[in-house]
Symmetry: D3
Subunit: 313 residues, 6 copies
């Protein structure tokens, strides 16, 4: 039994060894990632336990995901090996056409991970956890995956959601809105993680205060509002906190949001205030973007502490 | 207008930088491959022109295939960019569980390349070529691709086929036989490239002489019969040639058969005898297996000559 | 027949894998470069066609240049293989003694590329193009190369020149001035690409406005005036535009000027205003300096557009 | 509770990226190894469970060992983090002065692993296992480690020992003999793994039959006698089996013996005959020496089966 | 006979190829380092001769240190091969948990280098040099090493000391103070290199002017006071100089202080003013932190000159 | 003063990181080489001292050669920095078109090394040495280099020559013969190193016994006759020795002959018999071909001993 459970598709990431259009990249570096897997690792580095409900293929990449998850302390009991199909992967093109930004190229359509379904969601397991987490990615990858999230949210004591709208995964932005909004409305979301771009799609506002007001009306208790390089904000009980971003040498921003979300939520669940949790979330996302790989550098609470005390930009 | 035309799916290959199960491989090296693309390069290195009829996705990997093909002198006029879907890729696991052997892990289902269809086959282009080539892979990847091969064979002056039965691509071996055999029967095959494993599936014999007799009855004119590390045989007009394989340090055997087929057929079309063409084919496959990458080391006629004169095992 | 023709020496570049004095560098990464080749790629990425008049040696590096050029869409009809001598190469020492700057170490004396000569310049080809481009490098590498440029300029509809004075290639700076100035005087230059250092040598001024006035008197129609990290200016018909440079993580500034020149000129030839062309030129040079390799990351018009809209320093 | 328990020091291995004296090696590749850890992985790949009793330091390398062990399925309950000292490491020099052979350079004196002690040996854990394994290395690294082995052997249902005499770890060969022989005498050894070199030291014989006779007198039930590249022999109940070694391209022979021992013992414990177990052991050691890394390629029972059926030297 | 002599432990450095916790680093890059060795190279790059009094093990790493030192022009006459023990090494973890900062993990306890002793200090050699240098590291690694420094300081014409307090090497900070302060008091220190952290420990002040006053009272003639990224100050005869740090892309700050110290002292000994020497020292430390490796990029006087003239942040 | 002196051009070698035509190689690994430099290192590893008379350019590659030579113990007193021109370099293409063979592509025409001249040959230095060595390469690269060898041979106590005829460096094979034969005739050669190919050119025989008879007539005292992979023979006083070659995994055969020559001659000069010296020479060449780099793995006498005792093919 674990403190936190996440539902989503773990993926094998092939990160470009050199920047630029993929056709000019000769070597690729393998990492294990996926938004919810990244989230789990952040939860664990901050000393709560976390389980991942997911499917992988019966292949080397699937085994890789399970072994890596186990190594990092994720409860892998509910990572199911789906013998029908393959493990999802993606490539990262770094620094082109926008320096310090990355593009993701997915090979996940029809993947084992996208076949996540309500039958994978064990009622006892869900009921035992303090919080169940998922993201807009899981809601997008298949109907059965969406249903799995709904089943889990139905059974959960408490829920967090990262809207994480990846336009490539949705047939249209309307579809994204029509899928995510009802879930926000139906289930009280303890912590919502989102940003101005997603909020524009969902609620047609971008201003943080406006966003908080509207999300609150939908039942969101705590809002973590990511502002990219500028930093992030957190709201709870009409109190808001802002933490400016740090300037560092960026290698790959992929995974920064997941590190922030998992860190924030893990600490919040342990009773830390939103300011403290936010600062640690920012520390986590700052460190993570200095390297390839989404979760290896996600700091422990103690290491984020050191960062916050010692880092000078 | 070109001497030879091949139809098939070009792929981006991610070759393991180190040997062993993929989950332990940290770096992957990109190459451009695909059986018919490899074949084309071998044809060209032996001084005939060659065009590839194929589809790639509208993505970096598709552009990579076109640029590489163009660089290597392939006529890319009929490589179509299919905006609906992605470019097929595959991973190579080397040396496990069999040292010096490789396993291929495909991400090509639903790929642009598999959507090759009769509409991609230009009648004038086909009629102008001396020979049209394809493989059992193209016959396996989709119905439309198979139809494209049939249309091209219908229009072709002369045909070559490499049976190349990859069990992973067929629903069953019966399906492979039921697809390939009728094509062998219907179209006079100028040069058939195959091996004992495929012949066992197709004709239930493995002995080279038996195989030749049976294939000849089906209308095959020249048979190139590959025997793996042992070498290869060639038959024409009841004359047979045998060339023993060379012992070299093997890095990755993938692509060896394509190099042999393209070399043999290119030289044969230029009027060289089967013994000469076979020796050069063996030279090509021998050199190719010493490296990662299927076609970069495919030798020119002159370089194969040097190999045959100078190489001492 | 192509829109733009460039004359110059393509080179194989060996870029240091790690920064510092070359004697401490253990690995070198191969790229294909040369100022005019870089320029051609920028022209093509912005959707005009471009041909390169050049010589390479009859060796692997020469073949590499031709294959790469062909891959990138350069018309290679007039890249001649000179069997008498070798292909020119150079090494790049990065970050020493000036961080973010590079030093070039040439092995090009007596190279095939430096043997470019008027006989390589085909009259019909030149007359058919909208613009002929070369650089101060081509004027420096040999008398015959200089004569080739003069012959091409003589026949051209329109001309562009990048002064590109590399002190190592000239016996003295006077020699550079005495060679370049008469060409500026004799031929109306449609677009001149230069910077304060070169203008100091040529005209003994550095101020942009002064420079423009003086170059205009010499018949220059459009001036692209590069200011390094600060950005660049463009002048036409007494109108001037300035575009500030962007702050990015610099890996190797080599090739930035060529990307800017080719982008600017390609867009200018397509009727874009100098402000638009300049902004795209800056986008191109900014992206190119974030990596090793001079031209792989030169953006298409559309990708530069994205950069200009989305990049936040 | 696990089937097999091993006691020993897990180590971080830094394997030379290129062959030759270490002073000429610029890059090192990290692996997780140690004779007993390698053994455990082989046991697990053959479908028994295995736990490792060991100590690591409270540092990144210690965490690395625990995470890797957990990933590979080793029961890490009894891997203790010793905060007093560091995790042991070693370097591998490959191919010099003997091609295809390796030299090990240890930094393990005073390491956490060498502080293994009887207090780390849990009686209930030991009693529950079918077999307890250790090696001459553990007997050599410290008195407390030796006492830990003795305590475990005392409590064990059944024991296996790999003599593994590394001269660098012993003050003298006499000391090795005086330590190992009494243990052989006192405890019935179910499976003894050794070779002619070690047997020469222990019993002053090298001939396999002589060795078996003498070891049998000491209470050894099954003998696995490794003959290097020549293969290996196994004896049980006066029946002997011999399996010839396979010729493969050797990258690093380190760990081959551990893979063979773990495979043999795992299968033997599952009731397989010595011939079958020996063949699989030879398969395992053959595959392992083709790469850097001691245990990543240790085959599963099924993969070893494929090797034995398909590999042609 | 040399101008400058340094006493200290040269080490082999294994620098992480990628940033982050060591357990996620797969490749390590070897460099030769050690504070006093770095110092010597800086002295030599600024055109004085320098010898290193040290011990290395009778192993490949020891040979590596000697060969590298010899290559870089260090007088290796008094680098003794100690056959009793091993050569000290260390690992560098970069960028975690603090981006742009490094953590050092030593394997040097009991190393040959730490066995440096007074018997290694040749009186004639010491007396012939203009200055003898050591650091707080050498004072920390062993009593015999400390005694060696004291013997050398006793015999020296002139002395410089870099306090370099590495908490990991001292049992307590008090121990550091109790060791270093008496040496400062007893021996007139020509040049003291230190920073606010060390000065806090030694004298309980951090303000530069306070520090200078107090150090001066202890007999220090010239003070080089390092302020990290902010720059550094130098004091002599109550005159002070300040040089601001430059902003560059940081790869690894290790060794920056040694480069600054060696450069400053070498130039100071050649009669350059403290402002000039300080500027060159800052140039050296700035260039060094842009790469892995402590001393390869330490600039010559001329290259630092170029940096100071041409570098624009 | 040294035991042995060699005259020749040291070069920087860029070895292909992967096998195949250079145009497909993306990374190159730098090594320091040159036939006579390789020879010197072999002499030194076998415990005689050796100096190299040579020129390098005033550039990083020149400094690299000097530093490496110094590191390896070569007396660099007479390596002159020639400010007029560049340091010679070459590329190695491995495994194409002949697996396990290499092709050398030189950029050395007009290099500093080729400007070696009689003025570089110090009479006292030469007279003090026991033997002076050079090769057919030095005789080929320039007239002045040839004259330098002649001057040195004139003054030498004793001479050795490696015929080393590289067809690319000679205008014709006749020219090679006309240059080398007179030197053989004029100067008593203590040790001649050659092979059947060179002997065919020089004397029109290839049989070892015939070759020895003819060379002996020309005044050669000891003949080392290399037979490639087959091994080598040595003759002295009508006694002959043969040592078979060992079968190893070949990475790059470049430099094998130099290692054999230097080892043989160093041991011969120390009074070892030709059989012993030949065996060590074969050990050296065998080890060297297993890696990239010509001299790093050249064994010491003791390590060759170990190889000869322990290596099993």
């Amino acid at each position: 039994m674990v403190d936190v459970i996440a539902l989503g598709e773990p993926l094998v990431q092939f990160n470009s060894f050199t920047s630029g259009p993929l056709r000019f990249v000769n070597y690729f570096e393998k990492h294990i990632a996926g938004s919810e897997l990244n989230f789990c690792i952040a939860v664990i580095r901050n000393h709560l336990s976390c389980g991942l409900i997911a499917r992988v293929g019966n292949d080397e990449f699937g085994r890789n995901i399970i072994e890596y998850s186990r190594a990092q302390g994720i409860d892998t009991t509910y990572i199911k090996v789906d013998k029908e199909t393959f493990t999802g992967i993606y490539f990262i093109q770094r620094g082109y056409p926008i320096p310090m930004k990355s593009e993701l190229i997915y090979y996940r359509k029809g993947s084992a991970g996208s076949r996540l379904s309500p039958e994978d969601v064990d009622e006892t397991y869900i009921r035992s956890a303090r919080l169940v987490h998922s993201t807009g990615i899981t809601l997008a990858i298949s109907d059965s995956a969406k249903e799995a999230v709904i089943k889990a949210f139905e059974l959960a004591k408490s829920r967090s959601l990262d809207t994480n709208i990846r336009p490539k995964l949705w047939s249209s932005l309307e579809k994204a809105r029509e899928t995510i909004l009802p879930i926000l409305k139906k289930y009280d979301i303890e912590v919502l993680v989102t940003d101005p771009d997603d909020t524009k799609i969902l609620l047609d506002v971008t201003d943080p205060d406006d966003a908080y007001r509207k999300y609150k009306e939908l039942g969101v208790k705590v809002l973590l509002y990511k502002l990219g390089a500028k930093g992030a904000m957190a709201y709870k009980d009409n109190v808001k906190a802002f933490k400016e971003g740090y300037k560092v040498q960026v290698e790959d921003p992929t995974g920064a949001g997941d590190a922030m979300a998992g860190t924030f939520i893990s600490l919040y669940l342990q009773g830390k205030g939103i300011e403290y949790s936010l600062a640690h979330g920012i520390a986590a996302s700052t460190i993570v973007i200095t390297v390839r790989g989404d979760n290896e550098l996600t700091p422990t609470t103690e290491d984020a502490e050191r960062f916050l005390n010692e880092f000078k930009t």
